[in-house]
Subunit: 324 residues, 2 copies
């Protein structure tokens, strides 16, 4: 039998036993979506829940990949295993960046304790919103204790994906104001830990003051992000590794906070609800594609064009089968 056709459960057993190429194949199955992806999900789901998910985001060029690489090195120094998912929601427009990142991460390519994978949308953003939690669940189920999800950019989708982690790290640079002006509020909302990377450049103190000031103005006590936690600000130089140990200590401190206060459980509940809603929406979307075909559909489109039926009445008729 050709390897490409091997069923998900065989691949899953091998991935559980440590086979990285089986794991990579399963992630491709998830990326493609469809019934096979669901089969992988059904295998992963009962075995997941012990991995810990760290999200990492920041503007392009903030040095996230180098920082991720340095973080991996730090984790490996005390023998922790780690999996990294690099998510690129706007892949058709920035494929180069991800490729560069992967090349940089080759430092760890031969280390069996490290698994790195980039994922991109195939067409629309909804795909990634669904595929990311499934990929995380798989990595968790095959025994990866630390899962880092890195997103490129500070747009709505990137922030959403990174913000759905157990602990979220937001990477900025000295003078960050210019590059992320637009979505500062979104970043403030998701950050559990701030990193000022490239801290060998000038402007670190000013950036720290800016962040502190924004934190002063934020409502830090809202339920989602946990009362009693003020995001620490860590300065790093990822190319030399300076500050990376402090960054990881901040992540560990947040994990302890999240576990002890019930925040972690609340977040995971919230996450699973959002995922369920997303699955339901996706199924309805498939249904819409099925509904919008056939003779009656052609007729209605024609009538709308002739102004004899308005678009909303036409939609009502197409939706009648699901409006039980």
């Amino acid at each position: 039998m050709s390897r490409a056709r091997r069923p998900p459960d065989e691949l899953f057993a091998e991935a559980r036993a440590g086979d990285r190429s089986a794991l990579a194949r399963l992630l491709s199955v998830i990326e493609r979506g469809g019934p096979d992806a669901r089969a992988v999900g059904r295998l992963s789901h009962p075995l997941s829940g012990s991995g810990y998910l760290v999200g990492l985001t920041g503007a392009p060029g903030a040095g996230k990949s180098t920082l991720t690489s340095a973080t991996i090195a730090h984790l490996r120094s005390f023998d922790e295993e780690v999996a990294v998912l690099a998510i690129d929601p706007s892949s058709p427009f920035s494929g180069g960046a991800i490729l560069g990142d992967r090349v940089r991460m080759q430092d760890h390519a031969t280390d069996a304790g490290v698994f790195i994978r980039s994922m991109a949308t195939r067409g629309h953003l909804g795909g990634l919103t669904l595929a990311t939690p499934e990929a995380v669940r798989l990595l968790d189920a095959v025994g990866r204790k630390w899962i880092l999800v890195e997103t490129v950019g500070v747009g709505q989708v990137e922030v959403e994906i990174a913000g759905k982690a157990d602990t979220t790290v937001v990477v900025v640079n000295p003078g960050w104001g210019d590059s992320v002006q637009a979505n500062k509020a979104g970043l403030m909302e998701i950050a559990d830990v701030f990193v000022i990377n490239k801290a060998d450049r000038s402007g670190v103190d000013q950036t720290r003051r800016d962040l502190e000031q924004m934190l002063d103005l934020s409502d830090l006590d809202h339920d989602e992000h946990g009362a009693g936690w003020r995001p620490p600000i860590v300065a790093t130089v990822s190319t030399t590794g300076d500050g990376v140990a402090e960054l990881w200590d901040a992540v560990l401190a947040h994990r302890e906070h999240a576990e002890s206060t019930g925040l972690l459980e609340r977040r995971r509940t919230h996450r699973i609800r959002e995922e369920l809603r997303e699955i339901v929406t996706e199924r309805l979307r498939e249904r819409a594609r099925e509904l919008c075909t056939g003779e009656r559909w052609d007729e209605l489109a024609e009538q709308v064009l002739d102004h004899t039926v308005d678009p909303w009445s036409a939609a009502d008729e197409m939706l009648a089968p699901v409006d039980a």
Copy 2:
């Protein structure tokens, strides 16, 4: 009765009689969406169809607004009336640009033959995909013969919106390659007319050669964009108005081509089908929000979190009411 509460049909009658503030209110109703927006749509739809829709897009900074302003001046010089919709799909991230554009367009603020309005998403992109055709239909129904839709940027959504026009103008600059590298293919696909704006800068000839070469490589005979039409390339300096008459002549030539070959009808049929599909999808999305509430929903989410039910089986159960 307070003006804010006046019903859509009254506002619609006034807008038809030329009242710009009534028109502006109706556009706000469309932006907000919901039942009132549908009421406006039902009023507009039977009366629409005689306006002609020109899309205009290009990278930020390409000079689209100045070009639009110069085009308005050109149209007004032979007394044509025009409405402009400036669409900003990523509004939360570039509100400043649109504001600047509106200020520049103030030249025409006191001219009753010109109506300018910017529209932004309220939350998600789907909103704009639905609101734009409704806004165009309203402008059409109140008697605007030329409707210009300008989108800011060359991302997927911007290109999609601008590409749904009767005639689409793509604005580039000398040396454009760097700024739109990512989505050249998308722009080539939608362009009926190319404009090299800021043609007083160096590099116009090279840019023209690049475009011609890409056109040589493109499949120009595909159905959607019409056999027998090769997008002309017009050079403009929008700040002085140079080339704007030629640009408009190119638009008129494309309109004649589209009308005489049946292309216009095919495009409008395609557009209405896409809009219908979008309406159906949006209704299903509303349905999903309704389904994913209540006691059983809470229970299922809890069970998924406890790993006693997998997410797909939970979704199946929530979807049962619509899986007739």
